[in-house]
Amino acid sequence: MIEESEKVSLIQVLTMHFIEGLTQSEIARQFGVSNTIISRKINKGRELGFVKYFFKDETAYTVNLERTLEQQFALNEAIVVPSFGKDLSMIEYEVAKSAAFYVMNNLRHLKSIGLTWGKALWRFIQELPYQENKDLHIIPLCGGIGSINLAIHSNALSLEMAQHFSCNYFQLYAPAITQSFDLKNQLSSLSVIADILEKGTHVDLAIVGIGDITRASTLREVGYLGKNDWDLLRSLGAVGDIGCMYFDQNGTAIHSEFNKKVVGITLSSLKSIKNVMAIAYGVQKKEAVLGALKGQYINTLIIDSDLASALIATN
């Protein structure tokens, strides 16, 4: 409890500062005291809970989710789009648009961009404007996943993004998942593949999708993985993947023959990239995104608010 007289004085200063909008030094001058005294009073008033904040803009809800995610998972930036009252196709559009906004906003700092694969990335590239950026290089971060849905493969996405920016691009001529560790090693030693993989580990910005292992997973949909693979992954505790590299709920890479057969950027290489931006939406990705965040693979996260609140609630 504080003295009534002190309270009156605190409230007077708080009102001048927060309601009338005077600066600390303006208030100090009016009372003929030092800035420190005023600053101390303001802090005390805030600590005692005399000041209540009203966030009156419609962005307040998602900004608060962004801030919580940024703090909980040490992210550079989170962009959360509101999903309340929207269906999946509207959410896809909003997430893609936000991702495009982020990239365009940071483009002048970028010399190279790496891409994994997936629907979210494809959708995002559709939202990019056509704007020449000759010095930029686009690099695929993983091989092809079979022979259907080619448009969402890493190579196709790289080509498409390069068309938007009229810039350079590379192609990775390998399947994402090979038959054996041995074959993968042979492929990876070919300079035409090794060079691209090497470039992929040094991009300024990697843009990745996060795969889940639910029935809705695209890898499952396209039938690239057999039932045995799924059972194996699940028995090993896999919750999701980035570029077909699977990790568990803590984000630890799954130690299995499976990850060893994959041609593409490894999870540990991903960690050394300055900025990895993930695009994801839909609550079915909750476990997968949480694993990726806990593994600290992600620096920038673009998601919808349902997924964001699910992540925060689970963590």
Binding site: F18, V51, K52, F54, F55, K56, E58, T59
Partner: protein
């Protein structure tokens, strides 16, 4: 008009500064902009009302008035705001106090009824964006055809629901029918009947109190004619809630006007567990006194001088 992205940025800045306590310099470093720009942006956010403040300011006198009102009328909740020289500020403080109370009540209720009028409009304006997805907001009276401001129940229910990201009901009925017969017919329509039933069964209702004279909002929008006013005055009208007029004994006046309005009446209000009345204008003192005395409202938020007047001029 600001874009979503600009508003998001301003909201983020004020959150870092006021909630997380970041200095201008810390924000400048995070965003790679200069300190003067941060300072200008924070000022801009305040000017645009993206953030707003309320200073908790109870005094011995307001606490004493609250206790007296609570004991005298058996109130569930009461808040008396100190009178201020600045009328606009005082009004804003009353609304903000009401908002803070309601935000604290929302987790434990599932349905909220809302009346109509300028007071309700001001209240909804002061609400921050904060999700209470479980809540249902129900209008307590029908719609008014034309008005400059969105002050009628349906509009306010949907505006508030947007801010709270919750559901709301719509009363597809005009506020006043042209005859008793028409009113009876309207009440037979299933969707009108259903919404009115929901309105009667809300957990908490918020209402403004009305008066009956030429300056009343009802008169100004042309709904209450001079003859109506004369008729009500002959019956010793003291005021109204949700446009149902009562006399000095709290009895609903059997008037032509009341026989045609569509909404929930005084008896209905008495059976709602909590009805919060908000009053900031002196001319509503008699209306407030009767509403408190006959328990049409059992929670009350007002200013010091109105509280004084109710306790000392009437009791």
């Amino acid at each position: 008009m600001l874009t979503w992205i600009e508003k998001r940025q301003l909201t983020k800045l004020v959150t870092w500064h006021y909630i997380d306590g970041w200095t201008h310099e810390e924000i400048a470093n995070k965003l790679g902009i200069s300190r003067p720009i941060v300072s200008k942006q924070l000022q801009r956010a305040r000017n645009l009302g993206i953030i707003d403040f309320y200073i908790e300011n109870e005094t011995h006198n307001t606490t004493k008035l609250e206790t007296e009102l609570k004991n005298k009328f058996g109130l569930t909740y009461v808040k008396v705001i100190p009178s201020a020289h600045n009328v606009a500020l005082e009004k804003a403080n009353i609304m903000k106090a009401a908002v803070l109370y309601l935000l604290q009540r929302f987790p434990s209720i599932s349905s909220l009824g809302i009346g109509w009028g300028n007071t309700m409009f001001d209240l909804v304006e002061e609400f921050p964006y904060h999700p209470f997805v479980h809540l249902n907001i129900i209008p307590l009276i029908g719609g008014i055809g034309i008005s400059r401001k969105k002050i009628h129940s349906n509009d306010l229910a949907s505006l508030l629901a947007k801010k709270l990201m919750c559901n709301y009901a719509y009363l597809y009925s005009p506020f006043i029918a042209t005859s008793r017969e028409m009113k009876e017919q309207l009440l037979q329509i299933p969707e009108i009947h259903q919404t009115l039933t929901r309105a009667r069964n809300v957990d908490l209702a918020i209402v403004g109190l009305g008066i009956a004279n030429k300056s009343a909002t009802l008169s100004q929008i042309g709904y209450l004619s001079e003859e109506d006013v004369c008729e009500l005055e002959r019956a010793n009208v003291m005021g109204n809630i949700t446009s149902y007029f009562f006399d000095q004994f709290g009895k609903e006046i059997d008037s032509t006007f009341n026989s045609k309005t569509i909404g929930i009446g005084l008896k209905d209000l008495q059976s709602i567990p909590e009805v919060l009345g908000i009053v900031y204008k002196e001319d509503k003192i008699p209306s407030a006194y009767i509403s408190l005395k006959y328990k049409y409202i059992n929670s009350f938020i007002t200013n010091e001088s109105i509280a004084n007047s109710i306790l000392h001029d009437f009791c």
